[in-house]
C-alpha cells in the first residue's frame, strides 16, 4: 500500500498535466489549441536543453542549432522528397544527433562560460549556413508548404499527434534522467573532478549527453515545421536558443518537469501579451528579472522550499531523523 502511495506522490503531477492536455482542445477556442501545441513542442525543446543545463550543469546557448537541424531535416524531406512525416521524425533525431556529436565534441572540452560561448558560436555557425545556403535551405525565405499529412491535418488532430510524440519523448527522457547515466550527469554537475577519480571518463559522458540532448531538440524541431507549415533560419538563431534557457529558469531546472512548466508559462504569456502589445520582449525580460531575483530555482524551487510538496530527499531525511530519534553522532 505504501508503495501505491509513493507512486501516486511521484506521478500525480505529470498525470494531471496529461489529462488536462487531453481535455483542453474540447474546452478552449481554436487559437489556444495552437498555443498549447506550441507549448508542447517548445516544452520538449526546453526539456532536452535541461539535460545539459539542469542535469549536467553546463549552460548551452546554442541549443537552437539542433532544433533547427531537426526542423530543416523534416522540412526538406517533406517538401523536396515528399517523405511521410512519421519517417522524418527519427531521421531528424539522427541528423540533429550527428550535428551535436560533431559540434559537441569541441564544446565538452570546456566548462562554464567558455562552454556557453562555444555552444553559442556553433549555434550561430549553423544559423549562417542555413541562412546563406539558398539553393538547399531556401536561405532567409525558409521552406514553405510543409503540411502535415491528411490524417492529422486538422488543428486538433495535429495537437494530439504532438501530444503523443512529446509524451513518449518525455517518458524516455525521464527514464534517462533516473538511470545510472542520469545520475552520472548529476554527479558531473556536482563534482566533475571526483567523477574522474571514481573511474569515469567525464568528457565522454558529457559528449553522449550532449548528443542525446541534441537528438531530442531535433525531434522537437521536426514537430515544429508541419505545425507552422514552414521553417525559417530564425529557428537556429541565438534568440531562439534563449527560449529554453528562459523556460528552464522560470519552471526550475532541478525538477524534471520544470522546463515544461516553464514553457507553459512563457509561451502562454507570450501569446497572451502579444494580444495587447508588441512589447513582449519587455514583459519577458521583466519576468526573468523577477524570477531570478525573487525565486531562484524557478517555480519548482519555490514550491519545494515552501513545502507544498517537500522534495523526496528532504522528506526522507526528516523521516530518518524522526526514527533514529536524533543522530548518535554529535
Amino acid at each position: 500500500m505504501a508503495d501505491n502511495n509513493g507512486l501516486f506522490r511521484k506521478y500525480w503531477l505529470p498525470l494531471t498535466l496529461l489529462i488536462v492536455a487531453v481535455i483542453l482542445p474540447h474546452v478552449v477556442p481554436h487559437f489556444w489549441v495552437h498555443v498549447f501545441n506550441e507549448i508542447l513542442i517548445l516544452g520538449l525543446f526546453a526539456a532536452s536543453f535541461n539535460l545539459i543545463f539542469g542535469y549536467m550543469g553546463q549552460l548551452s546557448f546554442g541549443h537552437a542549432a539542433y532544433y533547427g537541424v531537426g526542423a530543416y531535416t523534416t522540412g526538406l524531406l517533406m517538401v523536396k522528397l515528399k517523405w511521410p512525416l512519421l519517417a522524418c521524425l527519427p531521421i531528424s533525431m539522427i541528423t540533429a544527433g550527428i550535428a551535436a556529436a560533431i559540434l559537441g565534441s569541441f564544446c565538452v572540452r570546456l566548462r562554464g562560460i567558455y562552454f556557453a560561448i562555444l555552444t553559442m558560436a556553433f549555434g550561430q555557425l549553423v544559423f549562417y549556413i542555413v541562412f546563406q545556403w539558398y539553393s538547399f535551405t531556401g536561405g532567409d525565405n525558409g521552406l514553405q508548404g510543409i503540411n502535415p499529412p491528411e490524417w492529422i491535418f486538422a488543428t486538433n488532430l495535429y495537437y494530439y499527434f504532438s501530444l503523443a510524440i512529446v509524451t513518449i519523448a518525455m517518458v524516455v527522457l525521464y527514464y534517462i534522467t533516473e538511470s545510472p547515466f542520469g545520475y552520472t550527469m548529476r554527479a558531473i554537475r556536482d563534482n566533475s573532478e571526483r567523477t574522474e577519480f571514481i573511474g569515469l571518463n567525464v568528457q565522454r559522458y558529457m559528449h553522449i549527453n550532449f548528443i542525446i540532448a541534441g537528438m531530442f531538440a531535433g525531434l522537437a524541431g521536426a514537430l515544429w515545421g508541419p505545425f507552422n507549415r514552414s521553417v525559417a533560419p530564425d529557428l537556429c538563431n541565438w534568440q531562439h536558443s534563449g527560449h529554453p534557457v528562459f523556460m528552464a529558469i522560470i519552471g526550475g531546472p532541478h525538477h524534471f518537469l520544470g522546463p515544461m512548466i516553464g514553457s507553459v508559462i512563457y509561451t502562454f504569456l507570450n501569446a497572451f501579451v502579444t494580444g495587447f502589445t508588441e512589447y513582449w520582449p519587455l514583459v519577458s525580460g521583466v519576468i526573468i528579472i523577477l524570477v531570478v531575483l525573487l525565486m531562484p530555482g524557478g517555480l519548482f524551487g519555490i514550491i519545494k522550499t515552501k513545502g507544498y510538496f517537500a522534495s523526496k530527499t528532504t522528506a526522507m531525511a526528516d523521516a530518518n531523523r524522526a526514527d533514529t530519534g536524533g543522530s548518535q553522532h554529535g
Partner: protein, 251 residues
C-alpha cells in the same frame, strides 16, 4: 613472482613553474602493505598522491602500478586500473544524498553508468547499504551529503574510494576533522581492510598516534625530498626525521 610491489615510483619530480615541489623521490610499496608518508605541511605529501593518481602532470620520473607504467595516464584510467583515493579536503557530491553518492561510485565500478533505462534506484541496493554500514554512515543515508558533518564527509570520502574496489587505496589525511572516537573507528576499518582482504594502503597523517599505531612502514618527506624511510621504530630513532618533523617529545 620476481616483483611483489604494487606501487613503484622512480625519480619522481614535480615543479610548478620554477618551484620544485618534489625532487627525485624513489618509493616502493609492497603488495598488501599499510604504509604512511609523513612530513610537515608543504612537504609534498599531497603532491605525491596527486602525481600517482594523475591529478597533476608529472614533470619528471616514472610511476609504476604493478608492472605497468601509469605515468600521466588520465585520472579515470588510473582509477579503473585499481588505484583510488580519498581526498584531504572532502570531495563529494554535495547535492546528492549519502546513499546516492556511494551508489554512484559503485555503479561506476560495475560499469553500469552507460545504462540508460533501468532506474538507478533499483540497482546496487545491497552493495550500497553494505558499504554505508561498513563506514558507519547508515543513519545518514538519505541526508544530502553537503550538509553532513566534517567527520561524516570524510567517512563518505573513504566510502567513495572503497566503492571502486581498489587494489591500492591512497588516503590523504583520512581522519582530519574527525573526533578521536571516529578517528579510531575509521583507522580500525582501514586496518581490517588491510588485514582481511589484503588491500594495500598508503596514507598521510599528522596525528602521531595514528601514524605509529597503524603504519608498518614510514617515509618522511621534507621540502620535497624523501629524507628517511623504515619501520616506525627506525624512523623514530632517525636523527634527520626527528629534526624535520617529529620533534623532541618522541625521542
Amino acid at each position: 613472482m620476481d616483483n611483489d610491489h604494487i606501487l613503484k615510483v622512480e625519480h619522481l619530480s614535480k615543479a610548478f613553474f620554477k618551484y620544485q615541489v618534489l625532487t627525485d623521490v624513489n618509493y616502493t610499496l609492497a603488495k598488501g602493505q599499510i604504509a604512511a608518508i609523513i612530513g610537515p605541511n608543504g612537504a609534498g605529501k599531497s603532491t605525491f598522491f596527486n602525481l600517482v593518481t594523475g591529478y597533476h602532470h608529472v614533470t619528471g620520473g616514472h610511476v609504476f602500478f604493478r608492472e605497468e607504467e601509469i605515468t600521466n595516464w588520465p585520472r579515470h584510467k588510473i582509477a579503473r586500473i585499481g588505484i583510488t583515493r580519498a581526498f584531504q579536503v572532502s570531495n563529494i557530491y554535495p547535492k546528492l544524498t549519502t546513499y546516492e553518492n556511494v551508489r554512484q561510485s559503485i555503479l561506476a565500478q560495475k560499469k553500469k553508468t552507460l545504462n540508460f533505462f533501468t532506474p538507478a534506484a533499483r540497482l546496487a541496493k545491497e552493495e550500497t547499504l553494505e558499504l554505508l554500514n561498513l563506514t558507519g554512515l547508515q543513519s545518514h543515508k538519505h541526508t544530502e551529503a553537503g550538509i553532513l558533518s566534517q567527520g561524516d564527509k570524510k567517512k563518505l570520502e573513504l566510502a567513495l574510494a572503497l566503492a571502486s574496489k581498489p587494489d591500492l587505496l591512497l588516503l590523504d589525511e583520512p581522519t582530519a576533522g574527525m573526533s578521536s572516537e571516529e578517528t579510531h573507528e575509521t583507522m580500525e576499518l582501514v586496518k581490517r581492510l588491510n588485514e582481511e582482504i589484503g588491500l594495500s594502503i598508503l596514507f598521510t597523517e599528522h596525528d602521531i598516534s595514528v601514524i605509529f599505531g597503524y603504519a608498518k612502514k614510514l617515509s618522511v618527506l621534507h621540502q620535497g625530498i624523501l629524507v628517511a624511510e623504515g619501520t616506525p621504530e627506525e624512523v623514530r630513532r632517525n636523527k634527520e626525521a626527528q629534526q624535520c618533523y617529529l620533534g623532541d617529545e618522541l625521542c
